[in-house]
């Protein structure tokens, strides 16, 4: 099997090296079925597990004692939990964007990264979904936000964006899971067929839902997959728009702004791609997937990262401009307080992480350096978390009546909840790459054929 990779230069390839159906399947399936757990992986798993335990303890203590274990107070009634929420939802965005929108746009290069991006989405949204429930004063009554006929004859209050959240988030996670699972079917079937151990055959067998891969299956598969992609696409926009309304509905200076929906969506994708890079680069190093996740993939994602970053920068500018343009003394003060108040360091850090750092991506050489990209992505992740913190806490701590002004300082349990959710996310992701193909075998095979010889 000759290939003309050389003629094009590696960085442009979506698949490097020459592969057959078999070899692709071997390479990816073996990660799950044959490869023995490396010590490095075990250690990573252990660390993630430890933080998961911390998460569970933090939640138990929270339920037993109350949200008072956090630093929240009057006037800063929302802090870490909501920051984590918005941040996690944001991260959840890139996955669906990559798999759905890029699919509709026929972006072939998405193929090798969509699977783990989708997984990332689901786990991130799961973390996000937890946060609003945890932050409730009486979490055991969270179901009162869901409309259902009850003996009290009362319904949710539809004008509240928190009720819209319930719908937005649940819809999003359901569709994401469907989309992800649909894509998995052929691969799980492959695993079923290649598995040696009995339990693997049983489990994968059940998951495969009797996929035999005959023409009818494939035909329905493609239709459904496309339909789901169509369904998922608007959600990418809607979810974070709704989340942003949680704030722009409020009259808190620094929240009450019409730019929030696009601003938040851009921010979400921004952090999403950052996270995709943060996960993808180590993943490909860990499992030697350089042939499938090529430098071109990284470069493309980096470009998207930069693009979203610029939109976010623009939003920052507009936000500040509108505050002064409104000539509203409270709005103006809120912005000034952000820049010069007691939380000025947050603003500075955000600007550094989200505005300055990404500009490096303009340089081709940087885009070709996975390590640097990884660093940039990590920094952006931090920056985006702080941005949400800035929007929520810094706006709240000084609002209308100076007599109420306050300050927020996180407690151990605030940090434990954040770290714990990160650990749990990591654990889920590690288990995912261990037990499911992190790259879509079926699609890679298709891609390999389509791109054979011609436009690599």
């Amino acid at each position: 099997m000759n290939s003309t990779v050389a003629s094009e230069g590696p960085s442009q390839a979506t698949v490097k090296g020459s592969y057959t159906y078999g070899s692709i399947t071997d390479k990816i399936a073996d990660i799950v079925l044959e490869r023995r757990t490396t010590p490095g992986f075990a250690i990573a798993l252990a660390i993630a597990g430890a933080f998961t335990v911390l998460f569970i303890v933090a939640i138990a203590y929270l339920f037993a004692t109350g949200v008072g274990i956090w630093g929240v107070n009057e006037p800063v009634a929302w802090a870490f939990a909501l920051t984590n929420f918005v941040w996690w939802v944001g991260i959840g965005h890139a996955g669906t964007f990559i798999s759905a929108i890029l699919l509709l746009l026929r972006q072939k290069w998405r193929t090798s990264i969509n699977r783990f991006a989708e997984a990332m989405t689901i786990f991130a949204v799961a973390m996000a979904g937890l946060m609003p429930i945890l932050h409730l004063g009486r979490p055991w009554f969270f179901y009162w936000l869901i409309p259902y006929p009850d003996v009290m004859n009362v319904w949710p209050q539809w004008r509240s964006p928190l009720v819209w959240d319930i719908f937005a988030i649940s819809t999003y996670i359901i569709v994401s899971i469907l989309f992800w699972y649909m894509g998995l079917l052929p691969d799980v079937a492959t695993l079923r067929d290649r598995a040696h151990k009995r339990w693997q055959q049983v489990v994968y067998g059940l998951l495969a839902l009797g996929w035999r891969g005959d023409a009818r299956h494939w035909q329905r598969f493609d239709t459904t997959y496309l339909l789901l992609a169509g369904l998922a696409t608007p959600l990418v926009i809607s979810v974070h728009s709704v989340v942003s309304l949680d704030f722009s509905i409020g009259n808190v200076p620094g929240w009450h702004s019409t730019i929030f929906p696009p601003y938040f969506v851009a921010g979400a994708l921004f952090s999403g791609f950052a996270m995709a890079l943060t996960l993808g680069i180590p993943l490909r190093a860990l499992f030697k997937l350089h042939d499938f996740i090529t430098d071109r993939h990284l470069a493309n994602m980096a470009k998207l990262l930069l693009a979203c970053g610029l939109i976010v920068d623009y939003s920052y500018a507009v936000e500040t401009y509108t505050a002064f343009y409104s000539a509203d003394r409270y709005e103006t003060y809120a912005i000034m307080n952000r820049m010069t108040g007691p939380y000025a360091w947050v603003y500075a850090t955000v600007m550094f992480c989200n505005v300055v750092t990404p500009q490096l991506i303009w340089f081709k050489r940087i885009r070709a350096m996975p390590v640097v990209l990884f660093a940039i992505a990590a920094i952006v992740n931090v920056g985006m978390w702080l941005e949400r913190f800035m929007i929520i806490v810094v706006s709240l701590h000084r609002d209308f009546l100076p007599a109420n002004w306050g300050f927020f300082t996180p407690t151990f349990w605030d940090l434990a909840t954040l770290a714990g959710s990160l650990g749990t996310f990591a654990l889920l992701f590690l288990l995912f790459v261990r037990f499911l193909p992190a790259i879509s075998m079926s699609e890679m095979r298709k891609l390999n054929e389509e791109t054979r010889g011609v436009d690599r």
Binding site: P75, L145, V163, L401
Partner: protein, 943 residues
């Protein structure tokens, strides 16, 4: 009191684990059936489920304050003022409100103790009997009684009896916050101690020489009412108040011209004022003196000069003299015989007792209440002397510092648990009746004293009743007795004014000029002692409400501190919460610094009453004990203080960290001149409600609204604590206040800002605004925050899930959240709770709802007899307690209601009206009345 471990230790971990298991199991377990225990015989006059009100009185330092106490099925739950009582007129101060919690305080002593061991009344009785025989013989040699100010006619009668029986027994008095100076001053002027009675409603010009008549003087609640009557701009004329003081007080904050001076300088200043008033005004006189003198001159017979309890007798004499010259005696100030029996000088009386104990002349000492071991002057040597008394009996509510050093401790019955009687500042007598049988086996003071005289059988009831039957003689004694109990005052008991001879002249101009030289070294730092606005002399240290009630001028809770001016702080290079060591004489005390605007330069102030070591779990270990620096001859201010900055910090709990208005139209204020020139001066464009997309609230039969007059509000904080008592609001403890989680439904914001020219302290009570277009409502996902048909924005606790979005969206931040389980479950708290108000669990938002329970009760009783509510039939707790009637509440649909009238005023403005929230609660702009033609900056300069 809830303090969290920074991280879970083992025990709390187990707790949390079991709790979480219980939580998991909780869903499946079912509430037990509720038992109902019927009365065997129902008390007459009681309707089950309906509260009863009993008229009685509460005393401090002997001075009585008439109150009505609400009793729910036999449980006293709330204290209201007694409209028929001259000292109250229906209002109370903050301290009276706290007394109900003191009654239920689970930390009160419950058993008689002898040398730390539980003992019995019988043993004590037999001891007293055996001593009694000796006293019979030697006429009570060696029997001493130490009491505070006493105003109970019955008790005084018992004393006379005792002294007849044991002529050589001695009775001593000691009140740490005493009025020795007042009486000495009166003696100097009139030859005998007299109680001045002020008529602020008749005074057009008032000059206060450090007299805190709005917050401290006996009768201050009544005085506040009279004072505010004279300050209604609508009357087109207002009284004018000049204040000179060291530590800012609410009286100083209410002043039109306030001057900050060290307490020791006030005498010479008063002399200057006297000189300027009686003689020619010297050119170099301070603007404050110049205009005060001018005003006094112009208001002959309608002015008033008064001196504070902290000022030396000479200043009081000077005040009397000035009033004499100005023809105020008999017009704005009268004098009555002392309503309270106390020593000529409390300090001398205590010293005498100590002297006797030292020389072993005391074998039996009975301490009636009080806590001399904690609050006696540090150089009095009481503690050591006490040891030489073979038998010392401490009789009090708490097992405190003193009782630990006495051989016996006898639990006393609370004022709400016993029959007694007491006299108010103006001589009016109230017969106190018990609301409940002693909760902890406390003993009425009358029975304790009767026992000393060998009478072990009479009850307090028989003693008090017999005394009054004697007084009433044969003119329908039964009816009069019944009337006294019903009305809460003994008819015609108010003291008649003494016709005194003219006050002796104490100064000529010569004296004035001479005295100018006596100004202390301006660089010398002076330390002033003041009673704590909420703990007084420390007796209320274990009352959590009062500990957590922000002190008006500092907004501090749970601690006192070394208060000083910004200038001095800079000079000492210290900031808030730095710990400094104060050295007076050879004694030292460490205290955290707190900067107080407008405090006299080169002076420090310490509130008395903190730093208790045996107050009980609530009160012990908060703040520093100022008594450790207080000496007999410098009870109120001591010069030559050395301040050393230590390299440590102490965290203080304040409820407000920012005091500038930031140029926001939050508090609107102007001068009377402004008002007369343009009555609409407070109006702003943004106040008019703009168009709104939200539907107007439907108008039902009633539309509730509130108006708060900032011209009347003196910032005393009574509303805050009355609300706390009415609405079952728990205290959260110091650490939670620091965390910013206090729960007060109506808070009094304090701002330091340039209003009407001069730098002034502004107060603004902020309850829920009950917005018609409430931002909180549209963000609550579960409809826990909704409007009712009568326009009250109600919080449905049982529906709230605790998203806290409503709080974020409330521009006034009046919503309070139960971040943890603050409501205590113990029997006492349960018994104290208002049965009409839900006790909120953790995770639930709460806030002011215009005392909904009172609204509903009123509406139902009106509906029951099919009539409309009358204006004033429903009164909120804050409105009822307000000494100056600054808060008006009522039905906006009623064209003749008081609240409609108030809102009709040209001074009405809405807080943050530009947000178009359309609050039902509005404010009346503050109006002050500085002397015309004064350059306000001068005030700034003077401060």
């Amino acid at each position: 009191m809830l303090d969290l471990p920074p991280i879970v230790d083992r025990r709390s971990f187990m707790k949390l684990m079991s709790a979480s298991i219980a939580l998991a199991g909780g869903a499946c377990t079912r509430a037990p059936l509720e038992p109902i225990v019927p009365y065997a015989r129902q008390p007459e006059g009681m309707v089950q489920g309906e509260p009863l009100f009993f008229a009685t009185a509460l005393t401090r330092g002997g001075y009585a304050h008439g109150v009505l106490v609400e009793s729910n099925m036999g449980r006293p739950t709330k204290i209201e003022g007694n409209p028929a009582h001259p000292a109250s007129l229906g209002s109370t101060g903050p301290l009276e409100q706290g007394r109900i919690l003191e009654l239920w305080d689970p930390d009160r002593s419950r058993v008689i103790q002898h040398l730390g061991q539980i003992d019995s009344w019988e043993n004590l009785a037999s001891l007293i009997r055996s001593r009694g025989q000796r006293w019979q013989a030697d006429g009570g040699e060696g029997l001493r009684i130490l009491a505070g100010g006493v105003s109970s006619p019955t008790l005084l009668a018992q004393w006379r009896l005792l002294l007849e029986k044991y002529p050589r027994a001695r009775i001593h008095h000691y009140e740490p916050v005493n009025r020795d100076n007042v009486y000495a001053g009166a003696r100097a002027s009139f030859g005998r101690p007299l109680e001045p009675i002020y008529h602020f409603d008749r005074a057009r010009v008032i000059v206060s020489l450090e007299a805190d008549f709005l917050g401290g003087l006996p009768g201050h609640v009544r005085y506040a009412r009279d004072f505010s009557r004279g300050r209604r701009p609508e009357a087109r004329s207002m009284n004018r108040l000049y204040v000179v003081e060291c530590m800012p007080s609410i009286t100083g904050a209410a002043a039109d011209h306030r001057l900050a001076r060290r307490s020791s300088e006030i005498h010479s200043l008063a002399l200057r004022l006297a000189a300027a008033t009686t003689g020619p005004v010297s050119a170099d006189a301070l603007p404050w003196v110049r205009s005060a003198a001018a005003d006094l001159r112009q208001h002959h017979g309608a002015s008033l000069v008064l001196a504070g309890d902290e000022q030396p007798p000479e200043v009081h004499a000077l005040a009397h003299h000035l009033n004499e010259v100005l023809g105020n005696r008999g017009a704005t100030v009268d004098f009555i015989a002392l309503p309270v029996t106390t020593a000529q000088s409390n300090h001398d009386s205590l010293a005498q007792l100590v002297e006797d104990m030292r020389h072993g002349r005391v074998d039996t000492l009975l301490i009636l209440g009080g806590n001399p071991l904690y609050d006696s002057p540090v150089d009095a040597g009481f503690a050591e002397a006490l040891r030489s008394a073979s038998v010392s009996i401490h009789f009090g509510l708490h097992h405190n510092e003193t009782s630990h050093h006495c051989t016996w401790h006898v639990p006393a019955a609370h004022e709400l648990e016993t029959w007694s009687d007491a006299t108010a500042y103006d001589g009016t007598v109230t017969i106190q009746q018990p609301l409940i049988a002693p909760l902890y086996g406390g003993r009425p003071v009358h029975e304790m004293l009767a026992a000393l005289t060998g009478d072990f059988d009479s009850t307090a009831h028989s003693l008090v009743r017999n005394y009054w039957m004697g007084v009433f003689g044969n003119q329908q004694p039964e009816e009069r007795w019944a009337n006294c109990l019903r009305s809460g005052v003994v008819s015609e008991s108010t003291a008649r004014y003494e016709n005194t001879q003219a006050a002796k002249a104490v100064v000529g101009d010569a004296g004035a000029t001479a005295a100018v030289g006596t100004v202390p070294d301006p660089k010398e730092i002076e330390l002033a002692f003041r009673p704590d606005p909420t703990l007084w002399d420390g007796r209320y240290a274990n009352v959590a409400w009062l500990q957590e009630l922000p002190k008006p001028m500092t907004q501090l809770t749970w601690d006192n501190a070394a208060f000083m001016s910004d200038a001095l702080a800079q000079q000492l290079q210290v900031t808030n919460e730095d710990v400094v060591e104060l050295e007076v004489g050879n004694r030292t005390l460490r205290a955290p610094v707190w900067v107080v605007p407008h405090h006299a330069e080169h002076a420090l102030t310490l509130y008395l009453g903190s730093g208790r070591t045996a107050a009980g779990p609530v009160g012990t270990g908060h703040g520093v004990n100022a008594f450790a620096l207080r000496t007999q001859n410098a009870p109120w201010f001591a010069g030559g203080v050395k301040v050393r900055k230590l390299n440590e910090r102490y965290r203080l709990a304040t409820v407000q960290s920012h005091h500038r208005l930031e140029g926001r139209p939050i508090i609107r204020a102007g001068t009377l001149a402004d008002y007369l020139h343009d009555p609409q001066f407070a109006r702003q464009e943004s106040d008019r409600p703009a168009a709104s997309l939200y539907p107007d609230v439907p108008r039902a039969e009633y539309a509730w609204g509130m108006s708060i007059d900032l011209a009347s509000c003196i910032g005393c904080g009574a509303c805050t604590i009355a609300c706390q008592a009415e609405n079952n609001i728990p205290t959260v403890g110091k650490s939670e206040v620091i965390a910013g989680r206090e729960l007060h439904w109506i808070r009094v914001d304090r701002y330091e800002d340039a209003a009407a020219g001069a730098q002034r302290t502004l107060f603004q009570p902020v309850p829920c605004m009950q917005c018609e277009h409430a931002p909180c409502e549209l963000v609550c996902p579960v409809e826990a925050s909704v409007h009712d048909a009568e326009g009250i924005n109600v919080q449905v606790y049982n529906r709230c899930v605790g998203t806290r979005f409503c709080s974020n969206n409330c521009p006034y931040k009046v919503r309070r959240f139960n971040f943890l389980s603050y409501s205590k479950e113990d029997a006492q708290s349960a018994a104290l709770h208002n049965p009409e108000v839900t006790v909120r669990m953790r995770g639930v938002m709460e806030k002011c709802n215009y005392c909904l329970q009172r609204v509903v009760r009123g509406r139902i009783s009106a509906d029951r007899d099919d009539r409309a509510l009358r204006d004033g039939e429903v009164v909120t707790a804050c409105q009822a307690v307000c000494p100056t009637q600054a808060i008006v509440f009522g039905d906006l649909n009623d064209p003749h209601s008081e609240v409609r009238a108030a809102k009709g005023s040209s001074r009405t403005y809405t807080l943050l009206g530009e947000l178009n929230t359309r609050p039902r609660t509005t404010y009346l702009a503050r109006v002050v009345n500085p002397a015309t033609g004064r350059d306000p900056s001068e005030d700034g300069g003077e401060r």
